[in-house]
C-alpha cells in the first residue's frame, strides 16, 4: 500500500475515533435532555433528502455521466489573472478570509486555494497567502504543499509564502495593505469570510493596480467587493467555486445535489402560497399543519 494512502487511512480513522469520542461525551453530558429531539424531525428529513441527493449525483458523476455546470465568469477569470501575474513577474495574493477554520466561508476559501495554487504552481508564479489564525495557516500550508505536489513541482513550494500576520482584525488588514503596496501583487484574490476590512483591502488593491477577484457569503460586504473588484462571487457562488474549478465527481455531485434541493424548496414555497390562498378562500383548511412543519424547534 502506498505511504500517502496509508497515512490518509490513519488520519481518517483517527478523526472518526475522535468524532465518536466527542459524540459519546456530548451524550454523557446531556443528562437532563432527551437523546432524540422529536420536534426536529423536519430538519432530519431535510438532511436525509439532501444527503441522498448529493450521494446520487456523486455516484452519477463517478460513473462518468457529464454533469453540466453553467459558466461563472469570476472563476473563469482566475486562470487569466494567474497568467497576467506570470507575464508581469509579480506575485498573486490570496486571502482565505479573516475567519477561523471552523467557519464554512473559510473552508470554502481554503478549498479553492488548492485549485488556484495548482494553476499558480504550473505557471511558477510567486504566491502570497496571509493567514489570521494558526489553524488556517496550517491548513493553507498543507493545501498549497499538496497542490504543488499535484502539479508535479513539489520543490518549488516555499513554505514562507503562507504567512501568519496578526490575530487582530485591523492589524491583519494593515499588514495586508502593506504587502499590497510593497510587493505589488498583480492579482488579489479574496475568497472567504470578510467583514469591515473588505473595502479597506479592495480599495488598496485597486489603488495598487491589481486585478481583483473577490467572493464572500457576507451580504453586507458584497456591495463593497462589487464596487472595488473586477469580479465578485456572490454567496453560494463561493461554495460552488471549488466544484467548478476542479470538476471532481465528489464536488460536482454535491453542487448538483444542492441544486435539486433548491428546486424542492421553490416547489415547497409555491405549494405553501397555493395552500395559503385556498385556506383564505375557505376551500381547504390544512395550511396551518403545512406551515407548522417548517417551524423552527
Amino acid at each position: 500500500m502506498p505511504a500517502h494512502l496509508r497515512n490518509t487511512i490513519r488520519i481518517g480513522l483517527t478523526a472518526l475515533l475522535l468524532t465518536v469520542v466527542s459524540v459519546s461525551s456530548a451524550f454523557a453530558q446531556a443528562e437532563d435532555g432527551p437523546a432524540f429531539l422529536t420536534n426536529r424531525i423536519n430538519a432530519l428529513i431535510l438532511v436525509i433528502v439532501f444527503s441522498v441527493a448529493v450521494m446520487y449525483f456523486t455516484q452519477q458523476a463517478r460513473k462518468g455521466k457529464t454533469l453540466f455546470l453553467r459558466k461563472i465568469p469570476g472563476l473563469d477569470a482566475v486562470e487569466e489573472a494567474v497568467g497576467r501575474a506570470t507575464e508581469m513577474g509579480r506575485p498573486i495574493l490570496y486571502i482565505p478570509g479573516i475567519l477561523d477554520l471552523d467557519e464554512m466561508d473559510t473552508i470554502a476559501g481554503v478549498s479553492i486555494l488548492g485549485r488556484v495554487t495548482k494553476i499558480v504552481a504550473e505557471y511558477e508564479t510567486p504566491l502570497i497567502v496571509p493567514a489570521r489564525y494558526p489553524t488556517v495557516l496550517a491548513a493553507c500550508q498543507e493545501i498549497c504543499e499538496q497542490a504543488y505536489a499535484e502539479a508535479g513541482k513539489p520543490d518549488t513550494f516555499n513554505k514562507d509564502s503562507v504567512r501568519y500576520l496578526a490575530g487582530e482584525q485591523f492589524a491583519f488588514t494593515a499588514a495586508v495593505n502593506g504587502i499590497m503596496m510593497r510587493e505589488r501583487p498583480a492579482t488579489n484574490i479574496y475568497l472567504g469570510g470578510f467583514f469591515a476590512e473588505s473595502l479597506l483591502l479592495a480599495e488598496t488593491g485597486n489603488a495598487a493596480g491589481s486585478i481583483q477577484i473577490a467572493g464572500t457569503s457576507q451580504p453586507e460586504q458584497l456591495p463593497f467587493f462589487i464596487a472595488a473588484c473586477d469580479y465578485t462571487l456572490m454567496g453560494e457562488e463561493l461554495y460552488a467555486a471549488s466544484a467548478y474549478l476542479s470538476h471532481e465527481p465528489l464536488m460536482t455531485g454535491g453542487l448538483k445535489g444542492q441544486d435539486l434541493i433548491k428546486v424542492i424548496l421553490i416547489t415547497v414555497i409555491i405549494v405553501g402560497v397555493i395552500l395559503s390562498l385556498l385556506d383564505h378562500w375557505n376551500v381547504i383548511h390544512f395550511f396551518d399543519i403545512y406551515s407548522g412543519w417548517f417551524q423552527e424547534a
Partner: protein, 215 residues
Amino acid sequence: MTPFSPIELWLMAFVTLAIFSFLYKDNPVYRLVESIFAGLSAGYYFGLVWDTVLMQQVVDPIKTDSSNLYLIIPALLGILLFSRLTQKWSYLSRVPLAFVIGSTSGIFITSRLQGLVLPQIRTTFMPQNVPGGSTDPWMIVVLSTIVVVGVIATLVYFYFSHEHKGVIGWTARLGIWFIMISFGAHFGYTVMGRVSLLIGRVQFLVEDWIGSFTG
C-alpha cells in the same frame, strides 16, 4: 475634559495620524505603526489564548475535577499541529484539521437547515406583515407577492445546473435585480456606520488632542 493623560493623548494622536498617512502613500511611519499593531495583536492573542483557552478550559478544569480528563483529547489535537515542524511526522497535523473541517461541515449542515432554511421557507410563503402594522389586504398581497417572487428569482439565479437562457434566464435576471437592490440598502447602511467611525476618530483629534493645547 479628556480622560487620557498627555502622553496617552499624544501617542493615540500619533498612531491615528500614522495610519491615516497611508491615504497619501505607503511610508516609514505607517510601516512602523503597522508593525507595532501586528506585533501587539500577536502578543495579545497569545496571552488571551493561553489564559482563556489553555488555562481556563483545559488545565483548571482537569486540576479541579478528574472526570474532566477527556479535555486532554482536544489539547492533544492542538499539540498535533506542531508535528508540522518535523518532516517525518508532519502528516499527523492533518488529524486536527480533518476533525475541525469535518465537524464544522456536519454541524453547519444541520444547524443551517434547522435555523435558517426551514424558518425562511416558512416566512416566505406566509402572508407578510406590512410595516407600520397596516391590515390593508392589498398591501399584504403586494408585499407577499414581492417576497415570494424575489426569493424564487434569487434561488433561480443561484441554480448552477442550467444555462441562464429562456425562462430561467429571465427569472435569474430578475433575481439579480432583487440582489442588487438588497446590496444597495446594505451599502448605504454600512457606509453610515463607517462614517460614524471616522467621525469618532476626527472628534478625538479635534476635541481631545487639539483641544488639550488650549486647556
